[in-house]
Amino acid sequence: MPKFESNLMYMFNEFDLIDRYEQASLSGFSGVELQSPYSITIDNILDKLDKFNLKHIIINLPVIDPDTGIGNLALRPDKKDLFLERLDLGTKYAKALGCIGINTGIGVYPSGFENDEVYQTLIENQKIASETLSKCGIKALIEPINTVDQPDFYINTSAQAVDLINQIDHPNAFLLYDVYHMQIMEGNLSRNIKKLIDKIGHIQIADNPGRYEPGTGEINYPYIFSLLDEIGYKGWVGCEYKPSTTTIDSLGWIQEYLNNYNEE
């Protein structure tokens, strides 16, 4: 039975960000993830985690470039120092919140630079991130993202992500396998998950097309969840989807899993 956690950027949008922790807990989740927790103080989040008995599974590094508004600091050869500052901030949050991993964020290709320079910058930044985070027991996660939603995103397939991880060459660099993005970019989900399982540090889900909850699209999620059990995936599965209706009504599919999990 996969352990499901709730993405608070996508879910419970009916509530203020800080109040979504409580809502996730009320809906039966024991874990949450949030791309950008940085508008809230660490203490305020810890208070919520404690009060509602939640684990904070992952966050993202704050990689938005203040000059362009684009989230691609990890790729910018001219802003390596700023990336390191942001890595410190992300690490501070993730460590305090007890996260298992940080999505290191890659971003769209920065115009005006040679590809080789951009790729070397990314490898260099990722090497430092992997090493820094490994000292705190936090996984450095690399997520390929589909180019239908985000044209020019730099890493788009599991093969590219694995190549990058091999270049980073650090045992703390892991793949964040988002089933939604991978169905858009490459399909062949079961075979790839099996093949990559040793490198997968976190999984996220949404159906395709639409990025709505499981059961609304072309992916047979019950089959995927059984597969994760069968191959012994022990990590978390982040529900990073847009509810097709209210968040509560979008949770029909998960009841069976949450009930069973909470009984264990």
Binding site: M185, N188, L189, S190, R191, P209, G217, E218, I219, N220
Partner: protein, 262 residues
């Protein structure tokens, strides 16, 4: 409602080929498809179709030595004559059996030629075949296969199929969109169908992994059929899968989903 046809190369393998028509009909199918009719006489097949009230939906052009692993000959410059002979034979059968769709398997690239040469040969062969069917109602289909089951098969993506179709530029040449093959090679099934609706002349299905019946793998066929049912697709869907246990058991999904045109 959707028009499903039984693929007799993969379903009802419990009986001999010539006895499969009856079983397809008994299980509610109005149409059948298979790889090749050429080992049988045209009139024997026609008898089976009419005795069992079935339409012949599709079969393939002769595709080389299939049993020995060949998957078409349409890309090989040195086999153009063989391809042309096959075109004539296929049209002869198709005309006699009232079959409106003929599929080209393109072939496994053997490394003797460049990609450009394979493409050019394929396009030339398709133009020849299209010319031969121009006074008929036959559509010629190009099918992409996955390269896990058929390593080095030359056309393995929808985008390559589209390139070829575009170069040929005739209404009578379309894509055969096999969801099983394309889930292995590229995913994004519903969007791909939506974006290429006017270029798709036939659909085939199987789940992945395993190529078994819908419901056995990672695809939510119930939703895919719901989508197709709401779309303007008026063509056929070929059930080209390997039954997980036996054919009768493998057909449960058709009744459960309630999507077949009766």
């Amino acid at each position: 409602m959707l028009n499903f046809c039984a693929n007799l190369s993969m379903l009802f393998n419990e009986v001999k080929f010539i006895d499969k028509f009856k079983l397809a009909s008994e299980n509610g199918f109005k149409g059948i498809e298979y790889l090749f009719p050429y080992d049988y006489s045209k009139s024997d097949i026609k008898d089976q179709l009419s005795d069992n009230n079935l339409s012949q939906i599709l079969f393939d052009f002769p595709a080389g030595n299939f049993a020995e692993g060949e998957r078409g000959i349409a890309i090989f410059p040195e086999r153009k004559n063989e391809f042309r002979e096959g075109v004539h034979k296929a049209i002869e059968y198709a005309t006699f059996l009232n079959c409106e769709r003929l599929t080209v398997l393109v072939g496994i690239a053997d490394g003797k030629y460049t990609t450009e040469q394979y493409n050019e040969t394929l396009i030339e062969n398709l133009l020849y075949a299209a010319d031969q069917v121009k006074n008929t109602n036959i559509t010629i289909l190009v099918e992409a296969l996955n390269t896990i089951d058929a390593p080095n098969y030359f056309v393995s993506s929808t985008s390559h199929c589209k390139e070829i179709i575009k170069a040929v530029n005739l209404q009578s040449v379309k894509i055969q969109y096999d969801i099983y093959h394309m889930q292995i090679m590229e995913g994004d099934i519903i969007r791909t169908f939506e974006n290429n609706f006017d270029k798709i002349g036939h659909i085939q299905i199987a789940d992945n992994p395993g190529r078994n019946e819908p419901g056995t793998g990672e695809l939510n066929y119930k939703k895919i059929f719901e989508y197709l049912n709401n779309s303007d697709y008026a063509g056929w869907i070929g059930c080209e899968y390997a039954p997980k246990n036996n054919t009768l058991e493998s057909l449960k999904w058709i009744r459960e989903y309630g999507v077949m045109n009766a």
